[in-house]
């Protein structure tokens, strides 16, 4: 029976202190009962192998002991969906705040590594936020399991709920893009439109940032042998105008995602203008040109030719894609107008 006692000693290690003696006393008797049953069946005392077999079947001491502990969770299934939703909202708001502050730093012409540091500090801020939100919800979960807080809080909401006030069903064809406009996507577009505008307005920092993203550390060097060709000067103001229109549209859409006609009309203007600009750029040979001060321009002539050719086809592809987008918005607007006209004539 020494093996039995060794087994119980091992189980004791993992048991809650206050219940150790009681649980082990009961476990010992249950196991003894089982051993005696087996001994009566065999008509003799069990050898160590047979005893070990019974204990092995009973389970590893750690697993046996954990069954006696109450199962615990940090945030239960009732609160978890709320926890996850709140976490996503907070992280998104923080992300937006950091994005704005990065844009401001860029516009102020702060050094590159200061901007990069601000971007990376978002990651540093996410971890403590994650911890704080989790702790708050863990405390709420304890309160909820003790006082049924959520049930009480939602009772009134449930009683006042009237299904007739739910928004009307809208088919996919009601939306210019075939689906409801996502605020997250709009915020994303707004960030990149603002970044592009700053880049276009020759804020040197964001130009360096863009080159860093595209070329890596080489992009930070002052010795890049290429610059934008003369055509970019011609389209400078039209691009600013279209970018501003896009930024305004994205701000309005972010606040009022249901203003679909405005969204579609503004998209038509920006996409139409973009097609014209892209067409103009594809008409010239030197989309990029050799930067002034390059000692031997012929050294880079072949590289420049390949880059310009790639850019040429990229612009054509982009123009075609934008044209398709234009056509979609135009068709949607035409359909909206024709259905408006039909319903007006029906009323008459």
């Amino acid at each position: 029976m020494k093996l039995l006692e060794r087994y119980l000693q091992a189980v004791r290690t993992y048991l809650p202190m206050s219940q150790q003696e009681d649980i082990l006393k009961e476990l010992r008797e249950n196991l003894r009962g089982q051993i005696e049953d087996r001994e009566s069946a065999l008509g003799r005392a069990l050898n160590e192998d047979e005893l070990a077999e019974i204990l092995k079947k009973h389970g590893h001491p750690l697993l046996v002991a954990t069954r006696y502990r109450q199962s615990r969770h940090l945030i239960g299934s009732t609160l978890f969906p709320f926890y996850w939703l709140v976490m996503k909202i907070i992280l998104a708001i923080m992300g937006f705040g950091y994005a704005v502050s990065v844009l401001v730093l860029i516009a102020q012409g702060k050094p590159f590594f200061e901007v990069l540091g601000a971007l990376l500090s978002y990651v540093g801020a996410v971890l403590p936020t994650f911890a704080i939100v989790t702790i708050v919800f863990a405390v709420l979960d304890i309160g909820n399991s003790k006082f049924r807080l959520l049930e009480r809080a939602t009772k009134a909401t449930n009683e006042n709920f009237n299904p007739r006030t739910l928004p009307m069903l809208r088919p996919a064809s009601d939306f210019p893009d075939g689906k409801p406009i996502s605020r997250f996507k709009t915020a994303f577009e707004l960030f990149f439109s603002a970044a592009f505008l700053l880049w276009w307005m020759r804020v040197s920092m964001i130009r360096k940032l863009a080159l860093f993203v595209v070329l890596g550390p080489v992009g930070l060097s002052d010795k890049i042998p290429f610059q934008l060709g003369p055509v970019w000067n011609i389209i400078y103001w039209p691009v600013i105008f279209l970018s501003l229109v896009a930024v305004v549209q994205q701000i309005v859409t972010f606040i009022y995602p249901d203003r679909l006609k405005f969204y579609s009309e503004m998209k038509l203007i920006t996409n139409g203008g973009s097609v014209v600009i892209l067409y103009l750029v594809t008409r010239v040979n030197d989309i990029l040109a050799i930067a002034p001060g390059v000692s031997d321009p012929w050294e880079f002539a072949e590289t420049l030719r390949i880059i310009n050719m790639s850019l040429h086809y990229t612009m054509i592809f982009a123009a075609l894609m934008t044209l398709v987008e234009c056509f979609k918005q135009f068709r949607w607007l035409a359909r909206v107008r024709s259905s408006a006209a039909t319903s007006a004539s029906t009323v008459i």
């Binding site: 009961e26 008797e29 249950n30 196991l31 003894r32 006696y68």
Partner: protein
């Protein structure tokens, strides 16, 4: 959290089977304890009627049901050894009645459905 998409058929079946058994085990234990038993004897009695339960599941379950007031227990000597005997409490009997009604209702509905 279990990712059901990554489970094999047998894993999935095992998870569903355990889920299905969990509630039934409690009813079986409560019903069997209308007569007094100690842990090992209860396990044997259930097994004899086709309801096999692992020791590591049954013994903690007995303590939990006792904490919830559905069982009563006492240490008593039997065959010159001290054993903890469990039996259904008054509250346990009331809850068992309700659970059996629920079980019978579910069973008849399921029979009609399947």
């Amino acid at each position: 959290m279990v990712d059901l998409a990554k489970l094999t058929d047998s894993d999935l079946f095992e998870n569903l089977r355990l889920e299905l058994r969990r509630g039934s085990l409690i009813i079986a234990v409560l019903a069997q304890l209308r007569e007094e038993h100690y842990g090992y004897a209860l396990r044997k009695a259930l097994a004899d009627q086709g309801m096999e339960i692992e020791e590591s599941t049954l013994y903690p379950l007995l303590r939990r049901l006792e904490t919830q007031g559905l069982l009563e227990s006492e240490w008593r000597e039997e065959d010159k050894r001290n054993k903890r005997f469990y039996r259904l409490s008054k509250d346990g009997a009331r809850i068992l009645k309700q659970l059996l009604e629920e079980w019978n209702g579910l069973n008849s509905s399921l029979k009609r459905i399947v």
